[in-house]
Symmetry: C4
Subunit: 240 residues, 4 copies
């Protein structure tokens, strides 16, 4: 029991005094960054396969160690070991390991699904959240203003659906599917405007103009909410 | 009289204790969302026609029920029944029903106008406003800062007209009609920039640069106004 | 002397009680808007020529009336009549009249310069500033934060020049002239991004990425300054 | 020793009373601006070579004078003369001089590297920072909010890497190299959207939409942080 407590302190507790804990955190950070490298290379070579192999082994060990100390984390006795794999972070951990495991087996029948699995492997990046502190300040702003941002998000989605619906029905030639209209509306609202799809009819252009002008308001809202939230957080810090 | 009072409580009053009222609101929310589905499909099939038929019937019943209880809403006695159909929300309700009614009749002579009517049907989406609460917070910010936002809107329109006028007269080849120049100015001001139309002459490019830089100020203004408005609303909430 | 005082009250003083003054202001507003219509039509026809003729006549009368009451405005005695034509608003007035006067003479030798003159005619739009009140609120924000906005403007220009210089020297093939590089930098900084000109080399793309990321900061600054200025103006209004 | 003190006062100390110091600052400002002109011209002609020659001579004299008074600046005795060339500003000064010196020698073997060196010459622009005051206000905002902005920068880079990784693995045809995917992600996040590279597959477009919407939050954050920082600086100024 005692070694499990020490282990738990190292891998889970963020204790500045514990040198081993800090060392473990930094090692994991580096392993995560290294584990991403093979994803950025098209043709797997010996080096990327090796990096993949080593990092996945470390991730598996990390996963097992976390599972072994699950009762110390969740404080629900033996039930913790059954519950832990379903906590959000454990699911991310598992999903980030799984595709590489299938890669290691190199089973032929999974070859086609392989590409999609590879994209899931990218989720391993989110592990960084666990090992970073300063991001918490920003997260707090988003947490406090969650409701307002959800409303704005809802407004934006509603706006995208409405303008997509109008465009889809007004300009059939430009937008072969409703999905194309939604894609156009999103790219226009966010003012990205690649230019791969755009209205050509007069009515379509009028709607484009209304949409882009209205879009500024939708963009100004989250900026305003985030600013207000951030200023509150700063003032709170200073009054303490 | 009594059943009309209960009916009014169900369809119009937002009473958290009244289970039937809440049930009605949620049912209408679902019906509105379902009613939009046929608009997102190009070729009408049996399912979309059925969805259209059912949702329109419910909208008609809803419209009649609201008309029957108009005197309880407007509190102007019998005059209310004549006035109600001209209130903004009643007009939106009617406009959202009308095109589908003509669809149900499937009159051949309206076939050409049919497409334009279909786009009007999209207005039914705005019914959501009636059945949502949290949006009111955002609406309040826009209401309070309405005047300032109107000024900015006026500035933006003035700016669009001016730069469109200059461009239209300077670069005739690129902008065949004044409408094209207005379209270009709007897409440039909002920084969407599809790239389907842009200045090619040196003078045109100079104006483009001035326009886009000036455009940032026009975009910064609504952001500032919304932020200031939102911070006021938050502070008011906290001081209560 | 008395009729000149009354005239001055009508055309210059913004007196809510003076019905004639208000009438004059509204008439001028309409005349200005009407005078722009011929600018938005490619081929001059009888109607546009008539509109041009009538509005220019009114502008000339307005200019003469203002010149006649210059001593009441500038309060410098007879010197006012010589000084008035050089005040900014008088120059705008004159510039907006001049091109149409040359048009009325239809002198053949000015035919080539005609196009450039036409664009100057657009300046007549700025006359609106004289006849609008609510815009003053926004103008105040810009006046108070003028210095900060000038610094940001200077930073933006400096940034544009620097990235244009780098691009011009690194990617000669894409940017034939330094002007093209400045145009590209401006369109990229303001996140318009038409896509008519963009870097194709690896070094060019790296600079594009640095530029666009850095550009966000340059865009965030005026937004922040305007927001801060607007909030101050609001708080001042409330404390009064 | 005395003449070195006077020299130091002229070239380094920002003393409003010292006319010679102000004159020197203004002269250097003009020389810096003039020195950039040859960079904006493709084919070197006699004028640009002359401008290059004269400005570089002045920069070399300026560099030597600063080196001679290094002990007065760093206050570390004779060690100052060895340390000074490694201070950030001295490095910028030297880097901005070096390429032109090699140009003056016109050594043939450096001809190929010449282009890259030329881009380094652009760094001379940063000398302006030394001779400008009002920029300090903006710099202060960035200094105070440095940590928050670094976190946002980190988030943005993380976001760019993640979406680039997903895109690179999902849509191989559109993104031949990982660098292309990173370029696409950056141009999309900053809402520039040239349209030279964009997703064509359905999954790719879905990720594009998520990316651009999420990108608004990433853009809203620095705007919020800068606004909050700027308002603090203003309030501090007023309470003094």
């Amino acid at each position: 029991m005692k070694w499990r407590k020490s282990l738990y302190d190292i891998i889970e507790v963020a204790d500045e005094q514990n040198t081993l804990s800090k060392l473990y955190d930094w090692m994991m950070m580096i392993v995560i960054v290294v584990s991403i490298i093979p994803l950025a290379v098209r043709n797997a070579n010996e080096l990327t396969q090796m990096l993949d192999f080593v990092t996945v082994i470390i991730f598996i060990i990390d996963y097992i160690l976390r599972l072994l100390t699950a009762d110390l984390k969740l404080k629900k006795g033996k039930k913790s070991f059954a519950e832990y794999p379903f906590t959000p972070m454990a699911v991310i951990d598992l999903v980030s390991i799984l595709p590489s495991v299938t890669l290691l087996n190199s089973s032929l029948k999974l070859l086609r699904l392989f590409r999609l699995f590879r994209t899931f492997r990218v989720f391993r990046v989110f592990k960084v959240i666990r090992y970073s502190k300063s991001i918490n300040i920003i997260i707090n702003v988003f947490k406090k203003q969650r409701e307002a941002l959800l409303v704005v998000g809802g407004l934006a989605i509603g706006y995208i659906v409405i303008s997509a619906l109008i465009m889809f029905n007004v300009e059939s030639a430009t937008f072969p599917s409703f999905f194309d209209a939604v894609y156009w509306a999103t790219v226009s609202l966010t003012t990205v405007g690649y230019g791969d799809i755009y209205a050509v009819s007069t009515i379509g252009k009028v709607i484009t103009m209304l949409s882009s002008v209205f879009g500024i308001a939708i963009v100004a809202l989250p900026a305003g909410i985030v600013t207000a939230g951030y200023m509150e957080e700063i003032n709170k810090d200073e009054s303490l």
